[in-house]
Amino acid sequence: MTAPRTLYDKFLDSHTVSRLDDNGNLLLYIDRQVLNEYTSPQAFSGLREASRQVWRPRSALAVVDHVNPTAPERIAAMPDAGGARQVDYLAQNCRDFGIELFDVLDARQGIEHVVAPEQGFILPGMVVAAGDSHTTTYGALGAFGFGIGTSQIEHLLATQTLVYKRLKTLRVSVRGALGPGLVSKDIVMALIREIGADGATGYVIEFAGPAIDALSVEARMTVCNMAVEAGARGAFMAPDEKVFAYLADKPRAPRGEHWERALASWRELRSDEGARFDREVALDASALQPMVTWGTSPDQADVIGGRVPDPAAEADPIRRADLQRALRYMGLEPGQSLAGLPISHAFIGSCTNARIEDLRQVAVVVEGRRVADGVRAMIVPGSTRVRAQAEREGLADIFRAAGFEWRQSGCSMCLAMNDDVLATGDRCASSTNRNFEGRQGAGARTHLMSPAMVAAAALAGHLIDVRTLSREA
């Protein structure tokens, strides 16, 4: 009898080329990687300098997403010389090494973590590593994805493997059911607040429980995406019938006999009864309220009915200084209520929340209403395909009629590496994943929340509980 194994054990066992010591270090085989224009250049240069080849070019897919403009009219030109050089170099590298590229004008272009699932490029049971921390997103498909740096991209390109050390396992069980107006973003934001921005450092997270089972595949992507903000190096849930149905019509999903064989193998992808986790955390979805961040770290968050904390109440001097710094940066006073805080910008986009379901939720909130005076509101779809679908469904008309800018796909103001940048002092309700200092522009202030909450803030002109919007508007 073999001991019961976790899903994480199964990912590692099936991908271990060799054990490098008795201490958990492995040579791990990687099924797929996704490349972007800004973390890959030096990796390719490294290969060129050492005259090395790419081990398995078809295991990689490249996409331009971080530096491209998202102006409503699609233009191939990059707004600056640096971005242009990165895009050109990516194209050259893909040509020279035989890697498929979705460039800016490609109808399949978009944010890498939106594009790869919608193409069926990521399948259950895969181990995926890529030069972007939100590679954890793929856990929603029952794959194990994690972010790596440029040196490891180079290692992976050259060897199809990574030297990998086994992590600890954390199971997050979410019971209960989400109330109206609440979405999976609120689950993961509540988790991050609960365990802290380093609460899962050194761990991978397996999500489980009825509230997770009830989520759509896209909603699960939001959870796995943002789990990295708690420090998790990998976050996933066992794939179920919803995942298989999601994949069935994707361009690169297996077909016919291959599909049947794949399905049989995917159904084994779950933690065995009695498998042991290093740590367990439980959440009750029915107790959640819509979440917003007030600080400069994703764990500095509260429910929309909450208030800005008072640093004076913090005993630990380092933590007190961190709090003071966050409030100074955010321009907030202790005790100030979060609802009612005026905003200048609203941004709906990013790999966390710019899929078609997110946009449908936004449309429900904004239909027949207007963005408040003095607020610049933008919607940047997660991929060019999502954009096309939203136009087919009539969502784009609703957004434009409400006064939102309806833009082309890219990372855009999630990290402001292109020309979508906030100015010092701007305050933005944002459906993204990071509220770090300067993330959306030097001196700019970011409040993270669900897409429907961003939409509500855009209409009201201030942070507001989306569930009370109808009464107020």
């Binding site: 990165q86 493997t161 380093d198 420090g231 300067g438």
Partner: protein, 202 residues
């Protein structure tokens, strides 16, 4: 990779929690296709005033710590974006080791790949070290990777743990890709069997 065996120098305190890689290397420095010029970008908004002059408040600009080659940092240092530019920038200003209590996973791996030692101390040792390096007079330390010891100015020693494989790679300045490629045949054999069992991936 530059080997790390035993290094002595000044350690600067930078103890905030959850210092993210956006703060370590802001986005405007990510537009290159090489690794050059990142020394200027390191901690850009903290290190430089809006007019480009050094911010006298920032620890690496203060007398006594300007030549620091170690940073004593707070918990979860390097969280957020995977950008290795953060590590290249630290290397380019001459930082050889970071000493904290915990490091974000991707950042930690990036440090390792660039010969930048990360040391996760137990909280008591970390507090002791942080106190010493707050004063420039006692900020000089020696980090001995072989012995897994930090020696303070007064001769006190702090022991630290490190993964054996990591330690060896740092001591030797190992070329990680080269050593993995010595297993190329094993990888090839694994891959053939793996794909044969999963024809939908082949």
């Amino acid at each position: 990779m530059q080997p790390f065996v035993r290094v002595s120098g000044v350690a600067a305190p930078f103890l905030a929690a959850n210092v993210d890689t956006d703060v370590i290397m802001p986005k405007q420095f990510l537009k290159g296709i090489d690794r050059n010029g990142l020394d200027r970008g390191l901690f850009f908004d903290l290190r430089w005033n809006p007019d480009g002059s050094p911010n006298p408040e920032f620890v690496l600009n203060r007398p006594g710590w300007q030549d620091a080659c170690f940073l004593v940092v707070g918990p979860n240092f390097g969280c957020g974006s995977s950008r290795e530019h953060a590590v290249w920038g630290l290397k380019q200003v001459g930082i050889r080791a970071l000493i904290g209590t915990s490091f974000a996973g991707i950042f930690d791996d990036n440090c390792q790949r660039n010969g930048l030692l990360t040391i996760a101390l137990d909280p008591a040792s970390h507090r002791q070290l942080a106190e010493r390096v707050q004063q420039a007079e006692t900020a000089r330390i020696e980090v001995d990777l072989q012995a897994q010891r930090i020696r303070l100015a007064d001769g006190a020693e702090l022991a630290f743990e490190i993964d054996g494989l990591r330690k060896q790679a740092l001591l030797e300045g190992l070329d990680a890709i080269g050593s993995t490629l010595r297993q190329a045949e094993r990888i090839r054999a694994f891959e053939e069997k793996y794909l044969a069992e999963r024809p939908w991936l082949a």
